[in-house]
Symmetry: C2
Subunit: 339 residues, 2 copies
DNA sequence: CTGAAAGCGCTTACAG
DNA sequence: CTGAAAGCGCTTACAG
């Protein structure tokens, strides 16, 4: 914060007008002569004037600042949410908004601590990236701040959620794997952990059912504990020829394990991921995956929250953003012709 | 921002006192009777009062908000800076500060656009994560906002920089490699790209000199172009037995290349990294590296900027944070006994 | 087209 | 110990 800064009054004094006129001129509102307006704008420029947005915020009751909450347990897992946040931050700033990131500590999520000390009067809206507990959602909704959830949804119909088309993309991915002659296909993911995993699983189920491939209990593999942390899981005794993983990180870890176990990916076993994040790129072989189009999600999330704030826009509900497949090298034709 | 919110006046009305007294009670200042103070605090609680920090900011000329700038070109490269930012954000919030992240687009860095539209009156201080151009540094210093640079420094003596002990850690790492009987040791990194790379190189040089190993021009390998982007570089004709890489990402990429070229790491060639970021963990083999102690950097950076703001603390200059070696698997005894 | 007045919610002197 | 007054910098009615 500048020590002794130029105010509208300073500009007004210089030009012998009132600060009201300066205010109007600088915000390009009606009621100032063209000539005078130009003079004011130039004076502001030359005097190094900058709007005091705090004062404006106080007056308007709007901060043009958006709070972004990321549950801590996700923030370390991969760079997916930090990427998403960076994109959102960029979109917001193009619309004249700033953003304040809050990493929600696990403990605070459990005890329903809302970071209102920093948020209540400093943000016009809230964006939550990544699934938080149902109780926390309820808690957040008791504040009268508009809130948009990103990358998850729940049974509430009266909230905005921006999500990837998990169900359909996963259905497609499984179809693709089946088209490569795989029949022994496992799904890796704890379906109750997040709505994304659940929906990705159901896309896989749909594909299997349509191809009359029976579901097997041992081919649904839990990959995280009750707290949502990734765990070491046992591989099925009867080895699948393909694994549909709920995300790239899990696919990455699985591939490392398979390779260490002496199997070749994709020659012996195929593995697919989801997210197209850095894990899918760093992996050897690179992981065939789904790009969830975080650029578009960021754009839509920004648009929706600003619409809620500025136009008192209603709740749009669940908004699905299309993704697209990224065929890399971790899925290949099944060698198990005689299954 | 809440629509119709409780103010100090509301509490004052309820208890038939003045808002001055309420203000004093809630901020725990002198001049309020213990009994009354307790009443006020309880009333505030029960009425769901939250301080309007915008009003306070306007009054005090302080926002308790810190702007954090990350050059975009770094933000994608690895998760190093987003990790650092998250840690800083946590430390700040424990001290009652919020933070606003600004990803500095390459174009804005070139044309010296300072994001003052959002910053000038909304931040009390600025934290820059990652090296920015000298011109941009100059530009930032023309604002009278306290600024602290993290993870780089330049010839200016009158600015605060928090950095890893790149020189010493790299010296140590090279010593370690030499202790494994390596003599043909290359350094991978464009030394003019950042102060970190330069200092890491010089640590390597010191170690070589002390062990009377001659420097070779073909063993200093440029890994990025003038814009700082990573490039494909040719490997030396005369293959080194060890590579000291300026960061884990570069080490990761190099190891992939070597392995693809039919070499085994570390059996045939040893490779070291720097940062202890996810690349060093995801790599096969995991990369022997230096942990730059980003937790401590975050803590110190937070402390320094707040000290500058709150106590009008002077410039401390260059602050070096110790790191530590993390021995993993990518460095082994040299097999080239007869060099 | 221009401006005097009021007020956003708070805190800092200062007076009682 | 308590409170009336002033003011942070802006914008929104309203009046001329």
């Amino acid at each position: 914060m500048a020590k002794k800064s130029i105010t509208m009054q300073d500009i007004a004094d210089r030009l012998n007008v009132s600060k009201v006129t300066v205010s109007k001129a600088l915000s390009d509102r009606e009621g100032v002569g063209e000539v005078l307006k130009k003079q004011i704008v130039e004076a502001a420029e030359s005097m190094g004037y900058h709007l005091n947005s705090t004062a404006r915020s106080l007056r308007l009751g709007r901060s043009r600042n958006i709070g972004v909450i990321i549950p801590k347990r996700f923030s370390w897992e991969s760079n997916y949410y930090s990427d998403l946040y960076q994109k959102i931050s960029l979109h917001l700033s193009r619309k004249g908004y700033s953003s304040t990131l809050h990493i929600l500590e696990d403990e605070d999520e459990r005890s329903l601590v809302i970071p209102l000390e920093h948020f209540e009067y400093k943000v016009d809206g809230l964006l939550v990236l990544g699934q938080i507990s149902r109780e926390y959602i309820e808690k957040i909704r008791t504040t009268d701040t508009p809130v948009v959830f990103t990358d998850f949804y729940d049974e509430h119909r009266d909230v905005d959620s921006i999500i990837t088309d998990n169900f359909y993309e996963s259905y497609n991915m499984t179809n693709f794997i089946i088209s490569k002659n795989h029949k022994k296909i496992a799904f890796v993911g704890s379906v109750c952990a997040t709505s994304s995993i659940m929906d990705r699983y159901l896309g896989y189920v749909k594909s299997l059912m349509e191809h009359a491939i029976p579901m097997r209990a041992d081919y649904l593999i839990e990959d995280r504990d009750a707290a949502g942390r990734l765990i070491e899981y046992p591989l099925p005794q009867d080895m699948p020829t393909a694994f549909v993983c709920n995300c790239d990180l899990v696919a990455f870890n699985l591939i490392q394990r398979l390779v260490k176990g002496g199997l070749s990916v994709p020659r012996d076993v195929s593995v697919s991921g989801f997210d197209n994040d850095m894990h899918s790129k760093l992996c050897t072989p690179p992981i065939t995956t789904v790009d969830s189009n975080s650029e578009e999600m960021a754009r839509v999330a920004t648009e929706v929250i600003i619409n809620r704030i500025e136009n008192d826009g209603g709740v749009l509900g669940r908004i699905v953003v299309k993704g697209h497949h990224v065929i890399k090298e971790s899925v290949a034709e099944s060698q198990a012709y005689f299954d």
